[in-house]
Subunit: 330 residues, 2 copies
């Protein structure tokens, strides 16, 4: 499902990174970073993640000199069970709220939904937001961190941080252009330590559909970035597109999971993941390149592994999804 | 946030109930019911829930003599962690997918989002869907069922079943009229065995906003139904509206949780809950009354408790939300 928005603009964003994100190559571009990655002045990892998201939303509203009552809608999602991070972070805002979940592609889903509300003229603006926290995610999805379970090199590292983006019907120099809503893909991978492999086909199918539906060559974009495939998943994506569709995007393709960290010197295995990974890279860094006139059009393709630990224990595989959003300088 | 849709219609629905729902007063109106509530030919409760949702989506498409490729989008959500029910049920459809979560008000959220896509003319139709399974929900949210923990009479009973609804831009006799997107409410209740009390204020605020924003008297509707407040929450809602807003809706108000079961003779405590509860009552029963010309306008107000067991263990309270959707005969 690919189509174009005509009246949706990016007004502003607020990006917060944790300590690993701060020390990465693009850490200096974030609006705020924390040195203490674990607790961020809270007494649990879950509450730290809530604090990050709450701060990202509040600071964005403040940065724009707006009041909460000026915001028509918040759309937010995260990895925490029952979307607890979003629910508790947004609880006191008194702003209409919709919770969304497509795992690490959640920010893409939120932008697509928010844009459809603006395009349908039902609202004038909305905040879309997401967050993740490395330790909260490890605790919920994998082994208790205290076990010290060794990790395979193909595993990714959940990023810590929060990102909020203000979408508006009022013209700015950056617009939400064309989007592709992805379909679920499942090629039978069941290794949670190789999610790049599970998600790469979903990303490839979405990119292929996006380009062919719009009759665009990949060079239409200055950069196509996937969400969190990591170094191994990135290569699988390139191979998949070449083999299945004879499409080579290697000249203008990268993955947010490999851009967020210094892979040679930080202990992040195959790269970053988590819903905030693609959000930090896209809205913390790529938007700056666009504002600096170094890029004109980018295609952001956040990727999500829609698995559940409970179902994996029941011998299920990892379904995946990817949505694409073009951001263009106007 | 209240507004009106002009071009969104309900084309059809498919409703499936479990054995308790079958034996309730409206059980005979569902498209299908199961006698075996637990496994439904599957080997786990989670897989049984997936099976229900998959069947509801497939049968709706079949009933309408459509192919999967005729459906532009599926929007679905459920109580299962990571929305596993929706992800696995929709995995093989090859239809673009967005996952949503507002706990038991999820079907309302899905309808509002789907309607905004249709109204923005980006899609022509979409399926919105939800499911819940009593045992899967008990296992995930409360004590392992095998413990036999006694329940307080204010606790509700998660309904088992699945509902899918086909929304379309093409005119039918039933339209999605005005909607209100709710705000999160939290009055400090932390008792998971009294969720009706936690959710009643959210429902009351949404109903009040809906009526006042549109300048409507409550009698504009033949019936206003909340999602799953149960017998105690229902009274709290009426009291809250009377005390805070001097608004009496008792003449045309009911709660789906109390309509789904025979409360005197079924072991369901204060009534039904779960995202499928309001969906079964609204689309399995009330839509029939509208088609039979016994009602012309209803306001459906599914209610959701946005709590997380993890955060409750960390001494948090239960945030709640409610969205309102009017369905009107045209």
């Amino acid at each position: 499902m690919t189509y174009t928005y005509n009246n949706v603009y990016i007004k502003d964003k607020y990006t917060i990174g944790g300590m690993y994100e701060k020390d990465g190559p693009i850490g200096k571009y974030f609006d705020k970073t924390y040195k203490d990655d674990l607790y961020i002045n809270q007494n649990s990892w879950e509450k730290a993640e809530i604090h990050l998201l709450k701060e990202a939303v509040e600071k964005l509203i403040k940065k724009q000199k707006l009041k909460n009552s000026d915001i028509d809608l918040i759309i937010s999602g995260d990895l925490s069970n029952q979307l607890a991070t979003s629910n508790y972070a947004i609880r006191d805002t008194n702003i209409p709220f919709l919770g969304v979940y497509n795992a690490c592609s959640t920010i893409a889903e939120a932008i697509i939904i928010g844009s459809s509300f603006i395009e349908s003229k039902k609202i004038e603006n909305c905040i879309v937001a997401t967050a993740s926290h490395n330790m909260a995610a490890e605790k919920q999805f994998r082994n208790p961190t205290e076990y010290g379970t060794p990790k395979h090199k193909t595993a990714t590292f959940t990023a810590t941080g929060a990102v909020s983006v203000l979408l508006s019907k009022n013209k700015t120099n950056l617009k939400v252009g064309s989007v592709t809503i992805g379909k679920i893909c499942d090629l039978g991978i069941n290794d949670v330590n190789h999610m790049g492999a599970a998600m790469a086909p979903a990303a490839a199918e979405t990119i292929y559909e996006h380009l062919t539906s719009l009759g665009r060559d990949s060079t239409y974009y200055d950069l196509i970035v996937t969400g969190d495939l990591g170094i191994y998943g990135k290569n699988i994506l390139l191979e998949y597109l070449k083999t299945k569709y004879n499409l080579d995007i290697s000249n203008n393709y990268d993955d947010c999971g490999t851009m967020l960290y210094d892979l040679d010197n930080q202990p992040v295995l195959a790269g970053g993941s988590g819903p905030v990974c693609s959000a930090l890279v896209s809205f913390g860094y790529l938007l700056k390149l666009m504002n600096d006139k170094k890029m004109k059009r980018i295609l952001i393709v956040p990727t999500g592994a829609l698995f559940s630990p409970t179902l994996l224990f029941q011998k299920e595989t990892i379904p995946s999804i990817a949505h694409a959003i073009s951001v263009e300088v106007v």
